[in-house]
Assembly symmetry: D2
Homo-oligomer: 147 residues x 4
């Protein structure tokens, strides 16, 4: 079980960060944020990031779906405190790209999420359009040591 790279735990690695509210229903029987609730929080973080970055507009009406999601749980989360989700673009492939995120609460990283998004088969015959690829590139994460 490889753990997230150390640079993922710093908000400085990401071009975008936003507060996201937790909900009462996110808590499990132990009173902590449930692991599925983390997935819902990350999904909301991703879609708000996409809105903010104008990425859906750049993709026009092509359809994209999540093909893979990996979450690493680092610490317990609490309600009713907000979390902060930092987000950026990771690897950009021929028909797919990664949306990488780390969730913080009280200044501590509590989870990372790597989502791989793929352009719909029918729409993606020729790979990602160049204009969209350029938009994605503006929001790349800054991996440690590369800066």
């Amino acid at each position: 079980m490889p753990r997230p790279a150390p640079w993922r735990l710093s908000p400085d690695a990401y071009p975008h960060s936003q507060p996201i509210q937790t909900r009462f229903g996110d808590m499990d029987v132990l009173g902590h944020l449930n692991n599925v609730a983390f997935a819902a929080l990350f999904e909301t973080g991703r879609t708000k990031f996409n809105h903010h970055a104008g990425l859906w507009g750049a993709l026009l009406n092509r359809r994209a779906v999540v093909a893979q999601m990996e979450i690493n749980y680092l610490a317990e989360g609490q309600y009713p405190d907000d979390v902060k989700i930092a987000t950026g673009i990771g690897e950009i492939g021929n028909r797919s790209w990664q949306i990488l995120a780390t969730m913080f609460q009280g200044g501590q990283p509590i989870a990372t999420c790597d989502a791989t998004v793929v352009m719909d088969k029918d729409a993606g015959g020729n790979g990602l359009p160049d204009a969209f690829r350029a938009e994605l590139a503006k929001w790349r994460v800054r991996e440690g040591g590369e800066a």
Copy 2:
């Protein structure tokens, strides 16, 4: 199907108001906020209101549960816009009390929620403690025409 009283549609009727974020997963197949999502949003509004008002502290360790919930849906809700939930205390009974709320989006009321909370049977033999009753009374809604 009686509809909410007109005074419920004004934020001025409530002593407390707070922004609550919507989530991507709140949307149904039509792209509007789903009716169960409204229930989750109101629940988060209630528990945050209780935190803010210090009501759980005043109730000490007695347990309270929702006994009845009525939601009136007035208009469609949208993601990713926030909603604003205005909250106050309605009728106060012997062992129960109402938490009344209205949800607004873009300045328009989109739903009301009446929740009746009851003190646990074992804990509530003698009704609500006077100190708690006094705390509740501080957060009463202001019904139109009665002021």
Copy 3:
């Protein structure tokens, strides 16, 4: 806070009944089914009932939305046990109708739900089509004393 009529607590009052699974995430911090989870369970019960009864087909492509929902919580629910949801049609109005349901677990009623569904304004100018009204009537609840 008027409580459900006694006839609502008997499965015999309803023309349709189905098992619905609970989920781990339905539990709240006390280890019982959360009140919003009840709303989600009833929603799934309603939509499966509609599928079973062919009601959406009869309504063709007209759009209907939930306008009001009232849930009465009667007892605590448990995971991982299934619940049984009994469903039937209540009052039928000009543009709206009620879907009434009671949830049972371990043979005991644990909640009732009254949902009022309204035909979309644009589609419902002339009220419910007669053919649809006739379909609804086939699935009426059997109120005690009326049989």
Copy 4:
């Protein structure tokens, strides 16, 4: 983005299989099962598997949490059809173990989930108890070609 190994796509690889119901609220705006809903379905599959296999009893009161979750989405899922979730134990480490699952609908694999569960730090000082390790071993997946 490495994809699931081919043996993961066969129900025969798993010692346990169970039907799990989908819910209306699992659908996203496109009318398919949402990716977070897959996480909730897998979570329910895992906890029901644990009940069935008696694994929590064998662990006594030690606490275990999900440390990592990876989901691979292979095809779209539909409501109101049930899914079938096949489950087994993967690698068993010193303080952790994998719960591997594949979700099928209409006979086709639509997603895999690899969850890594870790015994609580305080409880796990000396690693997994031998009796629990033996219980886990009874529920191992059968990897293709290795049998």
